[in-house]
């Protein structure tokens, strides 16, 4: 006999105890068909021949050769039916037969129900896991893109606050060191969420960084990036973005805006909005972007933000709003505009608030005076900036990807071409060493890479889980012995690293092993 699930085909098969004629295709019994209700009410085997019901299913079943239908009912739900054709002996189904069938149905129905539930749960779990996995991947992509440390040029205080909504954000911000003591800064917001948005964010950030080196003014930088992004971004997606350049010495800020929130500048209690407008990136080619210039004097602060704070709703349904942001910035203490704004924000949205959008805040403040400058910023001139920080599973061949990522991270640092080549070789060799020797090419172990910049020096730290194996020394390989067949031809990696970079250091803490590569920018 056959089990059919509700709303799926039934496939009758011969009855084992008293064989009957097999029936071909299955028959659906939709809920609206009178047979459905009839079977639910019958509760036991039903003779089709004696059934007089205006039912498409009955007609179909009869046409298929069914004579007896045994409903499978569990908790008031019709899960399916057992459809039997006539007994081969042509005898009618006896009451014993029917009792047997009813008992069978009573056993089978709950089992079918459980099977259905398990299947449904599996599907839901898979869906949920897929979504979570995508969010995880997107969050990972994004984490590696956001600055790990904030720049601290002498005489300036730069703060940032970032809180993504539901683990994946469309918001991003970036700081781009430029020639002549200027600092580029970016705040942006990609439409949509998930991996596609994170990828658009990555590509936007990358193009902005490149454009910032190529183009001379913020308007040109955005226009430049826009041309490329129009081609690359999926249709329907776009990026709002503000790009500016701070002259650390004069305090002058020039910026251009592609549809992003306007910046505020606070000077002695007044808060003004700086207006530059332009179309978001990625929508249409040939866009031009206005530029606005402002100069930050001692103690003055510029605040950049994203939609998330302005458009957040309080428990009563009202929006936080631009005016509130503006007035809160005005009332904030000198050195903690962001903190004060967040306090006000958290009080407004209340404790049960479910974040609707990412919140990004960046403040750029000029020191109030020489004394403050010296006191606050003493020692912070040496603060390194982290250009990249990421982990990669230890698969063979991944060293080239690591090499490319590190090369991209140091793009803005302007290595002369030959030094960059040496640097890349060293990074690839160190990564390969970590993957193959440190982590035994085990993809479940990660190689962790961090790229740090300080003054004119780049330090790359590559960490594997192969600690405790003793110090590693780069001996000069004996090529003659190798050519004479006395030694294996291998063993060039560590030697090459040492020859390619200015300094190579290794650390071992028993669990992890780290190779540090130090490279000075050098003369062009």
């Amino acid at each position: 006999m056959a089990i059919l699930k509700r709303r799926s085909k039934s496939e009758p098969v011969p009855e084992p105890a008293a064989p009957s004629v097999p029936i071909g295709e299955g028959v659906e019994i939709p809920e609206h068909d009178p047979l459905h209700a009839y079977l639910l009410q019958a509760g036991g085997p039903v003779d089709l021949e004696r059934l007089d019901l205006a039912s498409a299913s009955v007609d179909a079943l009869k046409a298929a050769g069914s004579v007896l239908i045994v409903p499978l009912i569990s908790q008031g739900e019709l899960l399916g039916t057992l459809n039997l054709g006539p007994r081969l002996s042509d005898q009618p189904y006896s009451s014993d037969d029917r009792r047997l069938l009813s008992n069978l149905a009573a056993q089978v129905a709950p089992a079918v129900k459980v099977a259905n539930l398990v299947k449904q749960q599996k599907v839901e779990t898979q869906q949920r896991e897929r979504i979570e996995q995508e969010l995880r991947v997107a969050a990972l992509i994004q984490q590696t893109l956001l600055p790990k440390e904030l720049p601290s040029p002498p005489g300036w205080q730069i703060d940032a606050y970032y809180r993504p909504a539901r683990a994946v954000g469309g918001d991003f911000y970036d700081f781009i060191p430029l020639a002549d003591g200027r600092l580029g800064f970016v705040v942006g917001d990609v439409t949509d969420k998930g991996v596609p948005a994170a990828l658009v964010m990555a590509t936007t950030r990358s193009h902005l960084r490149a454009a910032a080196q190529r183009s001379s003014t913020p308007g040109a930088v955005l226009a430049d990036a826009n041309e490329i992004l129009v081609e690359e971004i999926p249709p329907g997606m776009f990026v709002t973005c503000l790009f500016g350049v701070l002259d650390v010495d004069s305090g002058e800020v020039v910026f251009a805006n592609a549809g992003h929130n306007l910046p505020y500048v606070r000077r002695s209690g007044d808060v003004i909005e700086l207006r530059a407008t332009g179309m978001p990136l990625g929508l249409m080619p040939g866009m031009k972007y206005d530029e606005v210039t402002a100069t930050l004097g001692a103690g003055e602060v510029m605040l950049l933000s994203s939609d998330g704070i302005v458009e957040a709703h309080g428990p009563g349904g009202e929006m936080f709003g631009f005016e509130t942001v503006q007035s809160t910035v005005g009332q904030a203490p000198d050195d903690d505009v962001i903190g004060h704004l967040l306090e006000r924000f958290d009080a407004f949205v209340g404790t049960d608030h479910e974040p609707e959008d990412d919140v990004t805040l960046v403040s750029i403040r000029r020191a109030a005076g020489a004394a403050e400058s010296a006191a606050v910023f003493a020692g912070s001139e040496d603060a390194p900036v982290i250009l990249a920080d990421f982990a990669v599973p230890s698969e063979e061949g991944t060293e080239r990807r690591i090499m490319e990522r590190v090369a991209e991270a140091v793009e803005a640092y302007g290595f002369p071409a030959d030094r960059l080549e040496r640097f890349k070789t060293a990074v690839a060799e160190a990564a390969m060493n970590a993957i193959e020797h440190g982590n035994d090419s085990d993809p479940s172990l990660d190689v962790h890479v961090q790229v740090k910049a300080q003054h004119d020096t780049i330090t790359v730290a590559i960490r594997d889980e192969g600690g405790g194996s003793g110090p590693v020394a780069a001996e000069t390989p004996d090529i003659e012995a190798k050519l004479a067949g006395e030694q294996k031809p291998r063993g060039w990696g560590l030697f090459l690293i040492e020859k390619m970079v200015d300094e190579m250091r290794t650390h071992d803490d028993g669990t992890h092993h780290v190779i540090e590569l130090v490279m000075h920018r050098g003369e062009s």
Binding site: R400, T425, L483, A484, G491, W492, G493, L496
Partner: protein, 112 residues
Amino acid sequence: MREFEADVRMDGDTAVIDMAGLLDRSAETVLTVAFADALDRGTGAIAFNFGEVEYINSTGIALVVGSLAKARTAGRQVRAFGLTPHYREIFTITRLSDFMGIYDDEAAALAD
């Protein structure tokens, strides 16, 4: 970047091995076969053409060293051309250039 390829052709007495792609661990089989072919085919020098090689790592260096060792056993001279300045530097640092002639191009490599 592409998978490693190596083909052998004769230019007079010299067996030229034209290589392309990534010269790393994945290149071992192809290079070994091509080099054995080169040893079989000629009696003169063997010339590595690195013109289309996009990337060489330390494993690739080891493969070159291994081939060079086999050539020396067979009494054959090895030359190389088509290396970028960066990889020429690496061949110098590793002293490979002490044991094989490094030339600017094919014409120079075959001229001797």
